[in-house]
Amino acid sequence: MAAVEGPSVPAPLWVRLAWLAPAALFAAVATGLLPDSEWRIPWVPSLLADFGFRIDGLTRLMLALISGIGIGVFVYAPGYLAGDPRLPRLMALLVAFFLAMVGAVVADDPWTLLLFWEATSVLSFLLVGFDRANVRARDAARHALLITGFGGLALLGGLVLMQQSAPGLRLSHLVHLGGTHPGALTDPVFHAGVALVLVGAFTKSAQFPFHAWLPGAMTAPTPVSAYLHSATMVKLGVYLMARLDPAMNGVDWWKNTLLAVGAFTAVFASVQTLRERDIKRILAWSTVAALGTLTMLLGLSEPLSGVAFSAFLLAHALYKAPLFFVAGNLDHEAGTRQIDHLRGMRRALPFSAAAAVLAGVSMAGLPSSLGVVAKDAIKLAEASSDTYWYVGTASIAVGIVAVAVAAVATLRIFFGPPNDELATSAHPQSLRMSLPPLAIALVGLFFGLWHGPIEGSLLESARAIAPFGRLELEVVWPTRLESLLLAVGGGALLFWQWDRVHGWLERLAALDIIGPASLYERALVGVKKGAGAVTRATQHGILGRYVGVLAIAGAALVLPFVARAPLPTAHAFAPADAGLAAGCIAVLGGAGLALAARDVLGRLLGAGLVGMGSAVVFLFGGAPDVAFTQLAVETVFVIVAATALRRYVPAERPRLTPNWRLLAAAAFGGLLSFASLAVFAAPFDTALTDFFAGASVPQANGRNVTNVVLVDFRALDTLGEITVLMLVGLAALPLLRRKGAKEANT
């Protein structure tokens, strides 16, 4: 992954200083420069869509995460890919992602949110597939894009439905929806919209059954995994749920869905964690478990769930990001992420070891860490809710596995006798790589020891989720001790028996074939097979069959209109002058010639005569413009068709039988003739004719209405058409190989 290909390239100045961007934002958030505010830029007023932005407590917490972890990532990445020529591309994508993420959490207008939301999906695709020579990275990127892209579509549909039900709805309205859109909550359309938005949020936050892309995304470079797939982007889904929660918390299906999906995801991911040997994938599954826990928390009753949610959101980012950095450092140093080979690494990587221990303490929820604050809040929220049995059970299971994972990431990897088989470099790792994990983990420890600086922010954030009620972070010692002993005891047991449990769970591998990941793989193969079958069935290359399909489909399209059309009246067959008669005779003659001719060229000339005859009919029928055009088009058509027909080789495969051909031709010709006669029978609406006849000279200085419409009234359409014509001409050139060009090229 981090192997340097080709010569070492020094990093440009902007890459080295990119961390200043998140640092500036972080400073602004930390010093209170971003008070609660709203501002809007008009976008499409007719659709009630603005570029609307809003800052409140939850936004500030998200901004602090994005910018704070962002500083670490932007410092770390140039060290991780030092000397790699691809480094500027990585940094550019990361900076773009940073901006998209900031936009997504300050967005107030749903369409503004959607825009930034999709941007994060696309950037995630590019970042997961960053190592584009690696087929696994490309597959993982495609998986991530298909799932989150599908979620984006669901989000779009959901937002449209919500807007239908509550016009002009903004995210900030959701806190007091009864005041701004009183009827929305009783409208089933609104609920359908919320359900679709929830699907979008589930895909983004890797909730079961949309979780499988996240562990796969671990093929991305470590800074990307730490930033997108643990600390920020995957939090966007739970962030959106948190925005919806104030409006929906009283609704049963919403609560039950969040609780059930969140709890199941958390437990499922915890079990999957135990099946992995790759430290990065272990961390990825534990991230999925954390996201499940966050979803579950939102399903609990207010108001304490808001505090628990905010605290856990912050704590998780502060311990998971350092652990990912550490995994990257291990990979860099030892060339492997397999926990079977990694041991005693504390001598080679002292800084990483320290960071891992600090982060691990927080992850395990030991006292004096931020993790324990989150755990307390979760415990209190559960205790005060009319909770379901499985929520408590899921929490305990997730807590036990979290302790075990923390122990694996610290004790197992960094302590014990070193593995002599691993070739480790003698020189210490650069500060850019060893400092960020340590710094972020220290921040987590600091906040755990001293809640003061963050308590206000967490309560503000919680207030954005639960606007009513009194909020306090109070510690209940007996509850805490009980849950702590349970988690640490269970976790220690699990850690001790890790390999044995791993072995047991491996026997469950047979169940994977009914899992979502396997379904995704099979769907991918199925889509390819299905597309192939459809193409083979429709693109057979037999010209006669194409024409038959066109004729039958055309007839079928016309049929419903003809069935309702008035019968042609005698007026339509009114006798006309000699010119018209001559045209008609030419048309009939041409048709006869086409039928009688034995070879293709003769038939073509017959068809051309039909066209010429129609031109004469137009000429005497009062449409000289159409006549001219028809004449020229017919001439060019005959030339082109005659040229093309020289290459025509009759199909060897069986064509449509004569009876079928006769039927298709009769149906198509008969119905179209009937339709054109029926048009004349209906009363003619002259509104357009009158307008153009009257407006042509005064508005466009032209007497030829046809031309005036083309070059004046609908000039933009014409411009578009000739552009298409030019592009078609251009595109056709490479398809037609010049004779002899092949020999010339080889």
Binding site: D625, V711, L719
Partner: protein, 157 residues
Amino acid sequence: MTPGEPDPKAVEGQSAPGRPAPSPIVLLATGVLYPALLLAAVLLTLRGHHEPGGGFVGGLFATVAVMTVALVQGPKIARRRLRIPPIALASVGVLLALCSGLPALIAGEPFLTHAVGYLPMIGGAWKLSTALLFDFGVLLCVLGAVTGFCLRLLESA
């Protein structure tokens, strides 16, 4: 009917080597038809705003002119008489149509609102309009795109 190798000495009124020689009557007719059809194309476009005609028909007439030469004397000679590569003609046509809309933008009107001016000339004032520029753009685009396609079709056969 296969186009031969490029022959630097091939001139108007002759066919490229390797092709059956066309009959002198057809050759003569081509010599007359080519300029006549091109002239007709220009006239149709010029008068299009008031009388039947316009850039699209004009473009098709010009195409027929080029294709007449191509069928009788071969695509090589048709290309030579055209001088400018067809796809370049088409691109210039689209650009011309695009540019005809710019004066309106400068004047603060909607894009492609055509302006009219009268040029005093012997025998009465000539009416000039950006619409005419637009129509010639259409002519060039149709001519370029269709002849480019047809000539390549002839060459590949």
